[in-house]
């Protein structure tokens, strides 16, 4: 079996598995967020945090919940790292420096999981498990909660009430993420990932010398790392590390895990707005972009010219032979099109164009299928923009799912789409213009620029993957990337929730033959086009000077 065929077969198996999970998981999530019963363990949690899970919240209250909860998370995680030196089970690691602690705290709370540290050389068991792993769950649950609030805004009318943040967040953890992560962790352990609290082992190498191996609760963190589209690896090598991702099967399984919730949420959305077809249209949009990117990536990686590539049968540099070019390409595209940012290969070593594809994937705003929750709300914002332009072309005030897209709605959507380009471009330009940040580049020329562009793209879009090569543990990068992650996560949430509030207050417009049908393929095509053109226009000059310059040179 040739490597191309292997890649295609893996892709087909992946699509099959996602298709099987789509309806049950989507239905389950819709039920979770529509139910008015609380589990006993949830009641304890509500009592513990002093929240009333039954009050309906307006968007401002919902937002206060999101921000307060996340701020507490950042603070806790920061302190935990700062006092690591005196914590038990720290494997002898000392406290983390303030700028790196800030960066890491923000990184995990924003579901970015950018890591400027080496997991096995800096973080002990307590920080990894009680700090980072906890945020892996709750930051994902916060994302889904905000998406659900927006969906409620579409589904409800004549009310500003969007549900209860605490109930949505807690249920996301207890009823969706924990059960899934448990099953996934068992599967990973069965396939060879480790799960223990042992210390550091010195292991002799075949070629002489020795290396260190850490123990740790790896499988459990690996599971939620993918399911919650987090991406922060236990080890620095992330999913390329054999103890995180031992076999080609676990590789495919991990790709499945990181895609399954974002895709299935479109079903949840369809059910909650009362038309599963609308959910399918969004799914089709996400699926088209994802599949297109996978195909492009496989093409660039397999068909690269040059004697070394031809000898190896493709662009093997930086990829694990275990996973092959196919598996690595699917992983790379999936991790950058979701907000995961886990890597099983070095994106920096992909071909120039391949590296560009990973960047473009993040630049789309991570909406195909995107992060848990954030993918859905990001895509719905793009749908609003597309509906606005297309809606005018059918001669009516644009409307989506029965809600008019008026001045206020378009204002909020426009603010949303401005944030990440502003963060990426301004911070990258500042890094290039200032004398010191450039010293962190490993490479010169277009590839060096790609390292910096990739870093800000990854942070502002809450992806968290790194291009490798950039020494990001400097004060400048820890701070600016931290700011990019923080603003890139919470400013959009402000606009999404405000939008949800304004949509929820509207009365619905009935569907007539004059209404733009947003569940038809024509609209899906339009949406794909709008996303590609708007993103393309924003980033084309920057991409031209980085990956395009490199990729087209050979």
């Amino acid at each position: 079996m040739g490597p191309v065929l292997a890649g295609v077969l893996q892709l087909l198996a992946l699509i099959g598995a996602l298709a099987l999970a789509y309806i049950p998981l989507g239905n389950h999530m819709a039920k979770v967020y529509s139910s008015d019963r609380h589990w006993r363990v949830e009641k304890w949690i509500y009592k513990g945090i002093g929240a009333n899970p039954d009050t309906e919240m307006r968007w401002t209250a919902y937002l206060r919940g999101v921000l307060a909860f996340s701020a507490a998370g950042v603070l806790f995680l920061y302190l935990l790292q700062r006092i690591q030196g005196v914590l038990p089970g720290s494997l002898g690691f000392s406290a983390i420096d303030p700028d790196q602690a800030f960066n890491t705290a923000v990184s995990f709370v924003t579901n970015t999981n950018w890591q400027s540290y080496y997991g096995e050389q800096a973080m002990g068991h307590v920080v990894q498990t009680a700090g980072l792993a906890v945020q892996n769950f709750v930051s994902a649950a916060v994302g889904i909660a905000v998406a659900v609030a927006l969906v409620r805004g579409f589904a409800r009318s004549r009310t500003g009430e969007l549900g209860n943040f605490w109930a949505d967040m807690v249920r996301g953890v207890t009823r969706i993420l924990l059960p899934l992560a448990f099953v996934a962790a068992v599967v990973l352990v069965a396939c060879g990932a480790i799960q223990n609290f042992s210390g550091i082992h010195e292991v002799g190498q075949f070629m002489g010398g020795s290396q260190q191996w850490n123990g740790g609760a790896v499988a459990s963190q690996e599971a939620i790392k993918e399911i919650g589209t987090n991406g922060g690896g236990y080890f620095n090598a992330n999913s390329a590390h054999p103890l995180e991702n031992p076999t080609p099967f676990t590789n495919l399984f991990e790709i499945f895990l990181l895609l399954v919730i974002p895709f299935a949420l479109t079903r949840t959305f369809g059910i909650m707005v009362g038309s599963v077809k609308q959910g399918y249209a969004i799914l089709a949009t996400m699926g088209t972009i994802w599949l297109g990117f996978v195909a492009l990536m496989m093409w660039t990686e397999f068909a690269h010219h040059g004697p070394a590539f031809q000898l190896a049968g493709g662009a093997y540099e930086g990829k694990e032979v275990r996973f092959g070019i196919g598996g690595s390409s699917i992983f790379a595209v999936s991790t950058t099109l979701t907000s995961t940012g886990a890597v099983d290969s070095f994106h920096s070593s992909f071909t120039g164009l391949g590296g560009g594809i990973t960047m473009l994937g993040m630049m789309l705003g991570e909406i195909a299928p995107g992060g848990t929750g954030s993918g859905l709300y990001g895509m719905l914002i793009m749908a609003i923009i597309a509906v606005f332009i297309a809606g005018l072309m059918v001669g009516r005030t644009p409307e989506y799912l029965g809600k008019k897209i008026g001045t206020r709605e378009i204002k909020l959507a426009a603010c949303y789409i401005l944030i990440t380009p502003a963060l990426v471009l301004i911070l990258a330009a500042a890094a290039m213009a200032l004398p010191t940040p450039g010293n962190s580049m490993t490479n010169s020329g277009a590839h060096g620029f790609s390292e910096i562009l990739y870093a800000y793209t990854s942070a502002a879009n809450n992806n968290g993957s790194a291009f490798a090569g950039l020494n990001a543990d400097t004060q400048w990068f820890n701070t600016t990337l931290g700011i990019a992650m923080l603003l890139g996560r919470f400013l959009p949430m402000v606009f999404v929730l405000a939008l949800a509030g304004s949509l929820g207050e509207q009365k619905p417009v009935p569907v007539t033959a004059g209404t733009l049908r947003t569940e038809k393929p024509l609209f899906t095509g339009l949406l794909v086009g709008a996303i590609l053109i708007i993103t393309g226009l924003t980033y084309f000059p920057a991409l031209a000077l980085g990956p395009l310059a490199e990729g087209l040179a050979s």
Binding site: T397, A422, G514, K520, L537
Partner: protein, 638 residues
């Protein structure tokens, strides 16, 4: 835009030997000129109309009536609300008001363009007069209802001039989106110099401004207000005055149309369609008697009986000698003729039956059946009876029918395809209403409609999220006109109705509501189509400019020069020139509006996306290439 032009010009001055900087600045200035041109052309059209209107508004002298009945001469500009003024034949009416005394024929051509005079009389629904129109006969006393300077004609002038134009909600929303796109492109261009410096090439200000101007949505930005003005203008050309742009836009969103039956769906009058004989008589006999009785009847119904008799039975009009005509009165409820010893009557069933019985005649037993059948079919039965040597008897029944205007069914089908529901409003009984509704093909009807019923219907539709449009003319229509999202008042109507509606139809043609909806839709479509076109254009401009800027440092980027433009300078210049010329090229389209056909939203989207989306992607590739071919012929550039 101005800023960009000024900047490039300043930089060109700093480096006067640089032809490229000069050429770019020149074209940027042209872009500014073209952008303003579009709006100026649109406004120019309105100005011409405003001038015509101003002529009608020449200062008039009003004859104010004081309480003691004495008249005094005051300038029209000094009138106050509530003043009584007198107008006689030849006078120009000094201000808007209601006739409180007298009847007069008035020439309203100054505002409607219609030369046939109209009747204005006190009381009723035809009491409103408009300042600037001319009394042709008789004397009327008018109570002034508007302040000078705020009259109908003043509002009309400011409307067509565009002075009173406010941005509509959709226009504001579109502006916000365009502004955010502008910021995105500003970011993309402003962050480029540090990236380029790192790559080893320095970008001049001229080049950056050129890139920015090409990318920001100048095309649609320049045409946006022209599209709005032109939309209003299209309404004015159809003799409709929209009091706000918001109403025009709302017209595009309308999903329920309330249409008055009479005058809109049916011709104003009933017409004879059939002569139905009772047992023992023939159709020809009925036709003959009906025609005789109607020869002197000048009502439209009477004329239609004569016409039907001629068309169907070949009965010519005859001169009757010594005939005594019996005219219709509200008491007798019948008309007819006595001639040659024969008496013929036609009229309402009850009256004619009574007439026959009085004369000892008998009523054929099936006469009742015939009248019932006609009433059920939505018609009005007229009984025809005769008294001659054989005694008095009923001959038959004339079927008077509401005639649905030609082409209405197709019109309603079109509306249905556009997703608009039509509701017929009529004072008829439900039976008649149903029959006519079915014949005309409307979706629903409201029979025996009172103003309260209308109001309730509008509120019910609006509660379901629908936008409702209606026409009206009477004072009792005013609340409903105000409640409707689009209320079109007939110019012949009362001033209360005109105040309440947000549009006035100067032709007083209720069918025009359909055209108004189409104009509203066309306005939105034009905006959407040109926005799509403008954004899609940018793709090609990148392909022209980016390789031009960076192929020198990264030769691989020359592969992006898929148009094969001859040199970096000519590539950038071509993109700038294309950007300017496309504005001019689209001015006619923005003034005329995108072609509108009443089809479903899906078909419309497919069509417009193909033309303006895909067309917008492809057109600039061709345009820029052609301009580049021309430019490269200029020595020293290519």
């Amino acid at each position: 835009m101005y800023l960009g032009s000024v900047l490039t010009t300043v930089f060109s001055f700093k480096d006067p030997g640089d032809w490229f900087g000069w050429a770019i600045s020149a074209w940027l200035w042209l872009t500014v000129v073209f952008a303003n041109l579009a709006e100026a052309v649109a406004e120019g059209r309105g100005k011409a109309q405003a001038d015509t209107l101003r002529k009608a508004k020449t200062d008039t002298v009003a004859r104010r009536l004081l309480e003691d009945g004495v008249e005094e001469q005051v300038p029209g500009t000094e009138l106050k609300i509530g003043d009584l003024v007198v107008c006689e034949a030849g006078d120009i009416i000094p201000g808007d008001g209601d006739v409180v005394e007298g009847v007069a024929s008035v020439d309203e051509s100054a505002i409607t363009g219609e030369s046939a005079p109209v009747i204005r009389e006190s009381g009723g629904d035809r009491s409103a007069v408009t300042g600037g129109t001319k009394v042709l006969s008789d004397r009327i006393v008018i109570k002034i209802t508007t302040k000078p300077g705020e009259t109908f004609i003043d509002r009309m002038i400011s409307l067509v001039e565009g002075a009173a134009r406010q941005k509509t909600p959709n226009e504001i929303a579109l502006n916000i989106l365009l502004a955010s796109l502008t910021i995105v492109f500003l970011l993309a261009v402003a962050t480029l110099p540090p990236f380029a410096d790192y790559a080893g090439t320095h970008l001049t200000m001229v080049v950056l401004v050129a890139l920015l101007v090409c990318l920001i949505p100048t095309t649609i930005g320049a045409l946006l207000s022209a599209i709005g003005i032109a939309g209003m203008d299209r309404l004015v050309q159809r003799n409709v005055l929209a009091m706000s742009g918001r109403a025009v836009e709302a017209a595009g969103d309308v999903s329920t149309l309330l249409l008055d039956k009479t005058g809109t769906i049916t011709l104003g009058n009933r017409q004879a369609s059939e002569f139905a004989p009772v047992n023992g008589t023939t159709e020809a006999e009925v036709a003959d008697a009906a025609q005789l009785s109607s020869l002197a009847d000048e009502t439209p119904e009477g004329r239609s009986i004569v016409v039907l008799a001629k068309e169907k039975y070949g009965l010519r009009e005859r001169e009757l000698v010594g005939a005594e005509w019996i005219a219709f009165t509200a008491q007798t409820r019948m008309s007819g003729v006595d001639v040659d010893g024969r008496g013929i009557r036609k009229g309402a069933a009850g009256s004619v039956v009574a007439w026959v019985r009085e004369r000892g005649g008998e009523v054929a037993p099936d006469a009742q059946e015939l009248t019932d059948r006609i009433a059920e079919a939505g018609g009005t039965p007229l009984l025809v009876a005769v008294e001659d040597t054989d005694g008095a008897r009923v001959l038959g029944v004339i079927h008077l029918k509401d005639v649905v205007k030609e082409g209405m069914r197709e019109r309603f089908d079109e509306l249905r395809r556009m997703g608009i529901k039509t509701v017929m409003i009529t004072g008829d009984n439900p039976l008649t209403a149903k029959a006519i509704a079915e014949e005309a093909g409307v979706d629903d009807f409201l029979a025996e409609a009172t103003p309260e019923d209308k109001m309730a219907l509008i509120k019910r539709e609006q509660a379901g999220g629908k936008l409702v449009a209606m026409t009206g003319d009477g004072t009792n229509d005013a609340p409903a006109l105000a409640q409707a999202d689009v209320g079109v008042a007939m110019n012949t109507g009362t001033s209360a109705a005109k105040e309440a509606g947000n549009m006035v139809d100067l032709d007083s043609n209720p069918t025009k509501l359909i055209e108004i909806v189409e104009i509203g839709k066309q306005l939105l479509i034009t905006r959407g189509a040109l926005t799509t076109f403008s954004i899609a254009n940018d793709v090609a401009k990148y392909f022209a400019i980016i390789p031009a800027l960076f192929a020198a440092v990264y030769p691989g980027l020359d592969r992006l020069n898929i148009m094969g433009l001859s040199s970096p300078d000519s590539a950038i210049l071509s993109a700038v020139i294309f950007n300017a010329l496309i504005i001019i090229a689209l001015v006619p389209l923005s003034l005329r509006g995108v072609q509108y056909r009443p089809v479903s939203a899906d078909k419309m989207l497919r069509r417009n996306l193909t033309i303006y989306g895909i067309g917008g992607l492809v057109a600039p590739f061709i345009g820029i290439k052609l301009i580049d071919l021309l430019i490269s012929l200029i020595p020293g550039i290519g």
